[in-house]
């Protein structure tokens, strides 16, 4: 058995099992930690598929920054007490699980019909990644996709401003309370 097959069969069950465990986990912090396990498994798949730069980005951005933000919000709001399991719509959960299974089966048959389980990846990806994956990716990114790349920088600035605007309510309330206290002649 070739080595990359071994790596795949070690990490694919971990990825699927951690995703299912996240699904049934009542505690939000545990769910976030299981999602980090899942992201690391997906990062290993990126390495197998010849994308070492995206492996690093996945570990730094997803498993690092995004999940830390999630854990920060979970602990800030103190909502790790668990989820209510009461259903508001009758039969929603069985219907959702049935439809999810149908979706998974549909993807399976679509992949079998469209790609086929015998098809190996073509050789010669080293030629595409010539000079290293990061350099090759930078070449494509800054030549063919330069305008979308600049557009994402605008998007990130807008997102940062939006987060500040959405989160600033408390600061304004505090200054308002301070102004009222000063208006009444109270000593702050």
């Amino acid at each position: 058995m070739p080595l990359d097959n071994v790596v795949f069969w070690v990490f694919a069950p971990i990825a699927v099992a951690s995703a299912i465990a996240m699904l049934v986990q009542r505690n939000a912090v545990h769910a976030a930690l299981l999602l980090i396990v899942n992201f690391f498994c997906i990062a290993v798949f990126y390495l197998l598929l010849g994308a070492p730069f995206l492996f690093a980005v996945q570990v730094i951005v997803y498993a690092g920054a995004i999940m830390v933000l999630f854990l920060f919000v979970i602990m800030l709001l103190g909502v790790d007490r668990g989820d209510t399991l009461r259903e508001r719509l009758v039969g929603q959960r069985p219907a959702a699980i049935g439809l999810g299974l149908a979706l998974a089966l549909e993807v399976f048959f679509a992949v079998r019909a469209g790609v086929g389980f015998a098809a190996k990846a073509p050789v010669g990806f080293e030629k595409v990644n010539a000079g290293g994956n990061a350099q090759a990716l930078a070449r494509v990114l800054f030549r063919d996709y330069f305008f979308p790349f600049e557009a994402t920088s605008v998007l990130l600035i807008v997102a940062a401003i939006a987060a500040m605007v959405l989160a600033q309510r408390k600061a304004r309330a505090i200054t308002q309370a301070g102004a009222e206290a000063a208006g009444r002649g109270e000593v702050a």
Binding site: I42, L48, L69, F70, I74, V79, Q92, F117, V140, L155
Partner: protein, 101 residues
């Protein structure tokens, strides 16, 4: 690489289906959001698998952009969840019903 590309695509489909079920059955807005992240990652995995299959880097660039957009989306989404929590004192999607018709 000897592993068939289809294995990665089926794994990606499974993770996407699990994420979909998570969005449909969970009540906690944060857990719904985490399930959406799982779906985004599943799609990134299939993009990179197709990029390997076709021997081109365009799929990897698209996955890179999708990560950037996901980072922006997480920032705004979590800020919305925090402000909903300040307003209603709960992150359960069943308790947010001001716009209910």
């Amino acid at each position: 690489m000897r592993t068939p590309i289809a294995y990665f695509l089926v794994t990606s489909g499974l993770l996407f289906a699990i994420g979909t079920v998570g969005v449909l059955i969970r009540k906690n807005a944060l857990l719904i959001f985490m399930s959406i992240e799982l779906q985004l990652n599943a799609v990134n995995l299939s993009l990179i698998a197709f990029s390997r299959m076709h021997g081109s880097l365009n799929g990897q660039v698209l996955a890179f952009f999708s990560m950037v957009v996901a980072a922006a989306e997480v920032v705004v989404g979590l800020a919305i969840i925090v402000s909903v929590y300040r307003r209603t004192g709960s992150v359960s999607v069943d308790d947010v019903r001001e716009l209910r018709g």
